[in-house]
C-alpha cells in the first residue's frame, strides 16, 4: 500500500521556480497589470540589459576616450 505523505511533509517540498523568470537579484520593481484583454499579469522590472549595451564612457574631454561600440540594436 502506498504511503500517504502528511500535510506537513508536503508543505516542506520545495517548489521549483517556473522557467523564464529573471534572476531574483535583478528585480527592482513588481507591478500588477490588467491588460485591455482582461489578462492579469505581473511585470517584473529588472536591471537586466543586453550584454553588448555600452557602459557609460568617460566624460567629454577626458583623456583616453573609450571607443565603446554603439549598441545599434540588432
Amino acid at each position: 500500500m502506498a504511503k500517504r505523505r502528511s500535510r506537513k511533509a508536503r508543505r516542506k517540498t520545495p517548489v521549483a521556480p517556473r522557467p523564464g523568470m529573471p534572476s531574483p537579484d535583478s528585480v527592482r520593481e513588481i507591478v500588477t497589470k490588467v491588460a485591455p484583454t482582461g489578462m492579469r499579469f505581473r511585470i517584473l522590472r529588472t536591471t537586466e540589459v543586453d550584454a553588448y549595451e555600452k557602459a557609460p564612457g568617460p566624460g567629454k574631454g577626458t583623456k583616453g576616450k573609450s571607443k565603446a561600440r554603439r549598441s545599434d540594436g540588432s
Binding site: 521549483a16 517556473r18 522557467p19 523564464g20 523568470m21 529573471p22 534572476s23 531574483p24 537579484d25 535583478s26 528585480v27 507591478v31 497589470k33 491588460a35 485591455p36 484583454t37 482582461g38 489578462m39 499579469f41 505581473r42 511585470i43 517584473l44 522590472r45 529588472t46 536591471t47 537586466e48 540589459v49 543586453d50 550584454a51 553588448y52 549595451e53 555600452k54 557602459a55 557609460p56 549598441s71 545599434d72 540594436g73 540588432s74
Partner: protein, 249 residues
C-alpha cells in the same frame, strides 16, 4: 536549483553508496542567519552596485516618437520579406527550421552590416508562430526586443528574439503593417511599455506573432543579445524582424 547568479563553485562531485552528487556552492543564506560570515556576505550582496550597463540604461534618454533610429542593416530591418508565410505550432520547430548560425556567418556573399544591406536569400521568408512573451525591452534604435519562448510546460526551454521595429519613412510600403504591429503592442501595455532594461512577465503572455526572418549578423561575434537570465537558452541569433503582426493576451 539555486539562482545561477548565486553559484560560486560547481566542480565538486562526491560519491556515496554508489551514487554521485554534484555539490553546488552558492552565496545563498537563510535570511535569519546570524553567523559573522553570513552577516558580512549579506551586507556585501546588499551593497552590490548594479552593473555599469544597467546604470547606463536607467539614465539613458528615451527616444522620441516611433521612427527607427538605427543604421545597421536598416534596409533589411525595415522591409518585409517577399516570400510566403510558414506557420509553426511550436517555437522549437521554427528554430529547427532555420539555417545554422555558423553557415549564415560564413554566408557567400558575406552578409554586410551597412545601412543599405538588404535581405539575403535565406531571410526572404515570413513565419507565424503561437508562443509566449517572457520579457521585453526598448533599444535606443527604437526597436522593442521581445523575448519569445515556449509554454512553461514544454521542455527544453527555448527562447528567440523577435523585434517590433522602429518605424520606416512614410514612403515605405512596410509602414502600414509595422505601425499596426507596434500600436497593438503599445495599446496592450498602455503606460507600462518596457524601457531600456528588460521587463519580465509573469505569467508569460500568450502571443501570436508573424514577421520576416532576419539573421543578426551584427552580433555574430562578441556578446549575443538577450537578458542574462535567459540568454543561455537562446540557441540562435536569428530573429523575427520586423514583426508584422502581433496578438497578445
Amino acid at each position: 536549483m539555486p539562482s545561477v547568479d548565486s553559484i560560486h563553485e560547481a566542480s565538486r562531485v562526491i560519491t556515496t553508496r554508489g551514487r554521485r552528487f554534484r555539490v553546488i556552492r552558492t552565496t545563498e543564506v537563510d535570511e535569519y542567519e546570524s553567523t559573522p560570515a553570513a552577516v558580512s556576505l549579506r551586507r556585501a550582496l546588499a551593497r552590490r552596485a548594479p552593473s555599469a550597463a544597467a546604470l547606463a540604461a536607467a539614465t539613458k534618454k528615451k527616444p522620441t516618437g516611433d521612427q527607427f533610429a538605427g543604421t545597421s542593416r536598416k534596409a533589411a530591418k525595415l522591409s518585409i520579406a517577399p516570400g510566403p508565410t510558414t506557420t509553426f505550432a511550436d517555437l522549437k520547430s521554427l528554430i529547427e527550421s532555420l539555417v545554422a548560425d555558423d553557415k549564415m556567418v560564413a554566408h557567400k556573399p558575406k552578409i554586410k552590416t551597412t545601412a543599405s544591406a538588404g535581405r539575403v536569400k535565406e531571410e526572404n521568408k515570413n513565419v507565424k508562430v503561437k508562443a509566449f512573451l517572457y520579457a521585453a525591452s526598448r533599444e535606443d534604435d527604437n526597436d522593442f526586443h521581445l523575448i519569445v519562448g515556449r509554454a512553461t510546460t514544454k521542455s527544453p526551454e527555448m527562447y528567440m528574439t523577435m523585434e517590433l521595429s522602429g518605424l520606416p519613412p512614410a514612403s515605405s510600403p512596410a509602414l502600414g503593417p509595422l505601425t499596426a504591429a507596434r500600436n497593438a503592442f503599445k495599446s496592450f501595455f498602455g503606460n507600462d511599455v518596457p524601457d531600456f532594461t528588460y521587463d519580465f512577465y509573469d505569467p508569460p503572455i500568450p502571443v501570436t506573432i508573424a514577421g520576416s526572418l532576419f539573421f543578426d549578423m551584427n552580433h555574430a561575434t562578441g556578446q549575443r543579445p538577450g537578458p542574462p537570465s535567459l540568454k543561455s537558452r537562446m540557441p540562435t541569433i536569428w530573429e523575427v524582424h520586423p514583426v508584422t503582426a502581433i496578438t497578445l493576451g
